[in-house]
């Protein structure tokens, strides 16, 4: 896919927003790929974590918010712990999700559409955690 690197896009507002919400300076990333190598959910991701960070560095925000990767992340923090540059990639992922939830006002999943049997057997912490990540 062609990447538009116009000044306007590279310096998009969302870049700063991610930095602020995620509370992490992802410009420090030098693409070693440690995060993607250790990510338990990487197989399911359409964009690997280190590539997602690179896209954000280049202001390619529309690619990020359309991605499946930001929703597949289980926030296990393995990436952040292993990052040699101290980037909190888990925080970065959360920031991407939050921007989508806050601006689009559409939830990633609808609690009331979940299977009744599942709702009856899941421990509370599964639902609370999930809704905090996927609903705005």
């Amino acid at each position: 896919m062609a990447i538009n690197l116009s000044r306007e896009i590279v310096h998009s507002l969302e870049r700063e927003k991610i930095k602020e919400i995620g509370n992490t300076n992802f410009y420090l990333c030098y693409q070693c790929g440690n995060c993607s190598a250790g990510c338990p959910c990487a197989e399911e991701m359409d964009i690997l974590p280190h590539r997602a960070v690179r896209l954000a560095q280049l202001g390619q925000f529309s690619r990020l918010i359309e991605s499946k990767a930001i929703w597949v992340c289980a926030a296990c923090i393995t990436c952040s712990v292993r990052c040699p540059r101290g980037v909190d990639i888990a925080g970065f992922m959360e920031a991407c999700r939050q921007i989508v939830l806050r601006t689009r006002k559409v939830d990633h999943l609808s609690p009331v559409e979940l299977d009744a049997q599942l709702l009856k057997e899941l421990p509370q912490i599964a639902l609370i955690n999930n809704f905090r990540k996927f609903t705005g």
């Binding site: 926030a75 712990v81 999930n130 996927f134």
Partner: protein, 292 residues
């Protein structure tokens, strides 16, 4: 010794046997856990949105309740509660400005929120601080050759600043289990994530993780899992059952909270364990090993 105790939602429902066995184990060792008189859900996961203080209110309230008891230490059993409360406490210690904001919001409730004077401690840390010889003396069951795989998951050891042991290769559970007379096994995925809350809408991600974790543990000789997170327990237990139904070659092994094993070793009433809450019944294994 008395200590404040924050249960958390799941400890009152799906993980009630975790609470019962943990509290009775502590009591046997001379520690009385006093449940906070009033408590709310801690929020389950420390909020990663740095700008939204609303998400910090839940843990802040729990910390307030703990402070009001006058006891310094706050015990948690659930790994998620531990992580959330400990990180939140740290967050407010480091961000005086945010603490002020929370206080301004809480002004009408006439409560004073401060991050000082409270310490969040997990069951595992509390147990490992105790006198080992005293612990050993109380062990009633004969040395068992049950091979236990400790499963830490994410939240006991990540991020580094709140880790209760080493980040990549923690040993705290193994040490406790060995004191209690169990054998422990080593395997590479003990701190790998079980895919957590993805179980709600992406069960396949969880399944893949569980298969990897269980297969590795079993290959290394594990007969049972020990853990301290009600969500890991649900994921390992229910997904293993599902995998076994789909694939005959897959060997499921029982999943227990660490306190359940300790309680058994201490010779406490097995009823505390309420094994019916587990999908993979551990009783046949325990009988075989002389623990029941």
């Amino acid at each position: 010794m008395e200590i404040s105790y924050y249960p958390g939602c799941s400890l009152k429902t799906s993980a009630i046997n975790f609470e019962r066995t943990a509290l009775s184990t502590l009591e046997e060792l001379g520690i009385y856990a006093l449940e906070l008189p009033r408590w709310n859900c801690c929020g389950v996961m420390f909020s990663q949105s740095a700008d939204n203080l609303m998400l910090q209110l839940a843990p802040a309230r729990v910390i307030m309740e703990a402070r009001e008891t006058g006891r310094k230490r706050l015990l948690t059993l659930c790994s998620m509660c531990y992580n959330t409360l400990k990180r939140s406490l740290l967050f407010f210690k480091r961000n005086g400005e945010k603490l002020k904001k929370i206080n301004a919001f809480l002004k009408l409730e006439e409560r004073d929120f401060s991050a000082e004077g409270v310490e969040v401690i997990h069951l595992l840390t509390l147990l490992s601080e105790l006198d080992t010889s005293n612990f050993k003396m109380k062990i009633k069951k004969i040395k068992s050759n049950l091979k236990v795989a400790s499963y830490y998951g994410c939240l006991l050891t990540r991020p580094r600043e709140i880790a209760l042991d080493g980040v990549e290769n923690p040993q705290i559970m193994e040490k406790l289990l060995e004191i209690a007379g169990f054998q422990t096994v080593n395997y590479p995925f003990k701190t790998d994530c079980c895919a957590s809350f993805q179980v709600v809408n992406r069960r396949n991600v969880v399944k893949k993780q569980i298969r990897k974790i269980v297969t590795s543990a079993v290959r290394n000789g594990a007969e049972i899992f020990a853990l301290s997170c009600p969500l890991c327990e649900y994921n390992l237990d229910s997904v293993q059952q599902e995998l076994a139904q789909e694939d005959e070659t897959f060997t499921p092994i029982p999943v227990l909270y660490i306190s359940q094993l300790l309680s058994l070793a201490l010779g406490q009433d097995p009823k505390l364990n309420d094994f019916s809450l587990h999908r993979i019944d551990p009783r046949p294994l325990f009988k075989e090993k002389g623990l029941l």
